[in-house]
């Protein structure tokens, strides 16, 4: 265990204080000695553990994982953000900065990384959910939600005092919360808006979805205040937004460095790590760890770029990956990398910018997260074309998350548009962003080979 923790970036001091907690948490989720050994091998195979920044990133994820599992027995009130609730780490940041008695986190992300990517043991969690209402089969329920439901059903995490989700881009998440409420008696709340913009909308009306999101967010914060017993002021929110934006800026800078370098300095297996890091909940006290992690990694990668070192050969075909890298399984990204394909950018990984001139933090958050994105194909397709041109993309890996109708419904339209307008190859891959069981090595290998050949021939 100690060897694993060292590999995951724990210092000797950390190990002294955290080892009993880690052991307890791992025990609760069923991690045994064999899993520890397997995890060390997986980490070395799929991730660049030589980089201090990568180790530090894993450390932060492990800490959140352990905190989630032990929150109740450590006497905390628990606010869980289930599934998609963009930006909610800001409110978590306020809660955790104000009180040590409150634990707030996005639940699934650290679980997906640790149980999926590190230990390869997500299956029992997914299967537990499938025995409930998120069954397996053609319906194709989202495995992110399965993870959430499985964790709750197996009692891996204590029952929260409030479970929150956003719902405007997904109905399964609010429905799952509704059923958690009905069947488990769990207090739940949805943060909603309405994505109903059309091209006819003038700029004055563009913010109506943001305004609805703002009112919903205020209502949600009122509910949270009642549970935690203290007030969340605008100043607290701004402080958290500022603190987090420093972190987000470095993460964006890091992503830009990776995406603009040839050769690609780091395997795309790590793309998922940045996304999860961005969703971890910190406090005023712990945000410096996060910033330090990102700065360390940036420095290390800059050195690699300066030396011309990369995870794939220089000149490798540059691929735009739709959606994030797999959240629970690094194998596809690893395979692509081994085959000399550079997945340089994931479209969904763009950071949403806050308007810092806005005086109302609720408005700033809501317009950024609830109002200004996902306005439909009419905007997303041209954006896609723009990214492809700007990044000199040779092909698009359209790995659409079948469990999400919002994403899956766009896939064929994007494929057709890219082929028609840019003439570059598109590999359409129906998969599940959160379920490692979908991975089909031989099939993916064959398809990636053809994809690479098409890109290379086109370049020649």
């Amino acid at each position: 265990m100690i060897e694993l923790l060292k590999l995951l970036g724990f210092t000797a001091g950390d190990i002294n204080t955290e080892l009993p907690r880690v052991e307890k948490a791992f025990g609760k989720v069923g991690i045994i000695a064999g899993d520890i050994e397997a995890a060390k091998l997986r980490l070395k195979k799929y991730y660049d553990m030589e980089l201090e920044g990568v180790r530090k990133a894993f450390r932060l994820c492990i800490l959140e994982f352990v905190n989630s599992v032990l929150a109740r027995e450590e006497g905390k009130k628990i606010i869980i953000f289930g599934f998609m609730i963009p930006g909610f780490e800001t409110i978590g940041h306020v809660l955790m900065s104000k009180s040590r008695e409150v634990y707030a986190a996005h639940l699934s992300w650290s679980f997906l990384l640790i149980m999926g990517c590190v230990f390869g043991k997500l299956e029992p969690i997914l299967e537990a959910a499938e025995k409930k209402w998120l069954r397996a089969g053609a319906v194709t329920h989202c495995a992110n939600l399965k993870t959430l439901l499985g964790i709750v059903d197996l009692g891996i995490v204590p029952r929260p005092d409030l479970m929150v989700t956003s719902g405007f881009m997904c109905e399964t998440a609010p429905k799952t919360l509704d059923l958690l409420h009905e069947l488990y008696g769990m207090p739940v709340c949805c943060w909603d808006t309405c994505l109903d913009r059309g091209p006819e909308d003038s700029s004055e009306t563009k913010d109506r979805a943001g305004n609805l999101a703002k009112k919903n967010l205020r209502r949600l914060v009122e509910i949270i205040q009642e549970i935690v017993g203290f007030q969340i002021t605008d100043d607290m929110l701004w402080e958290a937004l500022e603190a987090r934006s420093r972190f987000d800026d470095i993460i964006s800078k890091l992503q830009r460095l990776i995406h603009s370098s040839d050769p690609l300095p780091l395997s795309p297996t790590h793309d998922n790590l940045w996304m999860i890091l961005s969703c971890l909940t910190f406090s005023n006290e712990t945000i410096s760890d996060a910033i330090d992690t990102a700065v360390t990694l940036y420095r290390e990668l800059q050195e690699r770029v300066d030396k011309g070192l990369g995870a794939v050969p220089k000149g490798a075909p540059r691929v735009l990956g739709e959606m994030f890298a797999h959240h629970a399984d690094p194998r596809l990204e690893h395979l692509a990398c081994e085959m000399g394909i550079a997945i340089v950018v994931a479209t969904a990984a763009s950071t949403i910018r806050l308007d810092r001139t806005n005086k109302d933090p609720y408005e700033a958050m809501s317009v950024a997260w609830g109002g200004s994105h996902s306005t439909g194909l009419i905007q997303s397709v041209p954006m896609q074309m723009h990214v492809c041109k700007k990044m000199n993309i040779d092909g698009v890996l359209e790995r659409y998350h079948a469990g999400c109708r919002t994403v899956a419904g766009d896939a064929l339209v994007i494929q057709n548009a890219v082929k028609k307008e840019l003439g570059i190859p598109v590999l359409l891959l129906e998969w599940e962003n959160f379920d490692p069981r979908v991975y089909k090595h031989e099939e993916y290998k064959r398809r990636l080979e053809v994809f690479k050949t098409m890109m290379t021939q086109r370049a020649d």
Binding site: D178, L183, D192, R208, N416
Partner: protein, 382 residues
Amino acid sequence: MEETRLTEHLKNRPAQLKEAKKDGAKIIGYFPGNYVPEEIIYASGAVPLCLIHGGNPRPADAGLSVMPQVICPFARAQIGERLLKENPYYDLIDMLVAPVTCQHLKKVAEIWEYEGKLHVFKLGVPHQHNNDFELEYFSDRLKALKNRLQSFTGNEITEEGLRQAIALYNRMRRLLRKISLLRRTASPPLSALEFIKLNHASFYADPVFMVEVLDSVYHELESKQAYASTDTPRLLLLGPNIGLGDYAILELIEETGAEVVIEEICEGIRYYWHDIENKGDIFQALTRGYLLDRIPCAFMRYSTRERLDFALKLIDDFNVSGVIWYELQCCETYDSEVYYFTEKMSERDIPVLVVESDYTTATGGQLKTRLQAFVEILKGVV
């Protein structure tokens, strides 16, 4: 007699609409789910048409060229109907009003909007409405729809026109309600298939004509009512969607000797359980009628309990002994909800049969065998 008149009317309806278009009328299509007030469209002088064709695997299959298999067959069928150009109604529409309901239909609207061949108005439907600001949002969007229709048709929508439209559609809802309630009797005077076909016709027929037909049908059926009880198991049909043409499940149920006596279906069936209040502020009344005072679809927040309670009430009111849960493949909200419904029905000893369809599977022998076994169980229960 009325059936013949209605069939004839529907047969001629596309040609009538083509003529109306030539004379400058606009045809406004909208998606089902009962979140789009036809009254506003009608009051603009345009013709409202609810796009509800489903059940035919060919359009759903054609839709696969634009949408993947994980999008429900009804949504894919909407795309397919316009691609195949064989359904006159889908070619006639000048504008689409797309309520922001489930992700499947929302995606159809986005694709049509992206293609640019059709004007699309997305009608924002707040998925929770416990607060005034959510009701206000919907009310504002209805007003925006009114403005959009005015500029699109060039006709002013007056308060008087809206009130007349509400009165007309209230008559239609009331008649459908009265006809539906006739099925509470021991021997219903019309089958579910007949009722659903009537209901579907109301989305395409001229509403004034439809009201006349429904009125005659009601009086005809009222006189035919029989009160003798039979041992035919009485069923409640629950689910997300019954498209026009998606009748195989109902035909199979009839074949197996059971009878659907009442349905609670979100999309495809006109919601008729209450009228729209036709006094006071019109947009507030429409907001209440179309959003607040109705049984929510499954995609609405915190809707599960309310929907279960309504289903249980229907079971009592219509003396139902079993439930058929008919869902379309890949409809993730209804598929989640069925777990809860089955559990709660089981606590009350109400058998539930879950049937899933992608428009190719609801006709097979396997389904017939399942239905037969279910009916046998019910006969034992009855």
